[in-house]
Symmetry: C2
Subunit: 191 residues, 2 copies
């Protein structure tokens, strides 16, 4: 049975990071649920693209029934994740249950807020590096350390999503999905 | 005054190609209107991401008041563009008025259907090459020939969008927008 992913979408989330990740994971056969932090209505993303979540986060009965939780960036969206008691609790629970916690761009700041993965390896949008004083900050495009997978920005999202596929599925599926998308050679070389 | 872009979105459009293009053009300061072929309600894209257009295409009074028309791929979405009398007329009008016509992935097949740009240079999603018998088919990731700009798939969309920015705005803006997105070096090298 395919693994499942809880993808959080907020007002102010980065729409490229959201769409690329959701789409790539679905191409790999993962069951992705797009859960809206502010509800199931269409949400205004960071550059005014309006994306409708599949469901309101609060309406999901068993919020720990997924194999992974994934957070897109966007400054305002990430701020909402970092200040939502529900999201903060989910990050702690997924982390402590050794399920995958993945975040890109500004969203790793929600990992700081949750107080998890301290002293672990992590990355984020480059200008946010100074916030990660309690972590081993990396400048790699994707960082996988234990069950925490982080990445840097819109231009690293294909690598971020493919790394999640590699983590949750397998390298053959990752290469097959990558091969259908006309990616650049230097992205393909990282697989 | 910023130039304006009419971005067509259909049921079945490729959501990565749509979102990356809209987002990057807005980062460059272009005025992008996302026009829904089936109306202004949320539209189900190719991998079940639901995007709400800004407006219904049919409700735009002056449909030729933009500096460019841009079409995302996705097999079903592109088929809808190729079979819509309204979209076909718009493609002819934008082409004949020497405004930019840009299409990616499967969407260049809508250019074939419109009968425009014959014998011109063009590209598309790789597996569709055989359909372009009346064109000079190229295997480059982005092809600009006169006022027609085409590209190949999800993994070429950043280059596609940045090429539109370079065409409509300038290279300085293109480099500035690219620099903020943590793109791979081989994409940056093409600018």
């Amino acid at each position: 049975m395919a693994k499942s992913v809880l993808f959080l979408l907020s007002e102010g989330s980065e729409e490229m990071e959201s769409t690329i990740t959701i789409d790539v994971l679905r191409r790999a056969g993962l069951n992705v649920t797009v859960a809206g932090l502010q509800g199931a209505q269409p949400l205004l993303c960071s550059r005014n693209v309006v994306i409708k979540p599949d469901v309101a986060l609060e309406d999901i009965k068993d919020k720990l029934a997924f194999d992974a939780i994934v957070l897109p960036g966007g400054n305002d969206g990430a701020h909402n994740f970092a200040t939502s008691p529900l999201v903060q609790q989910l990050l702690k629970d997924y982390y402590n249950e050794k399920k995958l916690v993945a975040a890109i761009c500004a969203a790793p700041t929600a990992i700081i807020a949750a107080g998890i993965h301290k002293n672990g390896k992590i990355t984020s949008y480059p200008t946010l590096e100074e916030k990660f004083t309690d972590y081993q900050y990396q400048q790699d495009r994707v960082v996988v350390d234990g069950n925490v997978l982080t990445s840097r920005g819109p231009g690293t999202t294909f690598e971020f999503a493919l790394s999640i596929v590699k983590y949750l599925v397998d390298i053959e599926t990752t290469k097959k999905v990558a091969g259908g998308m006309v990616l650049t050679n230097d992205i393909l070389a990282t697989l």
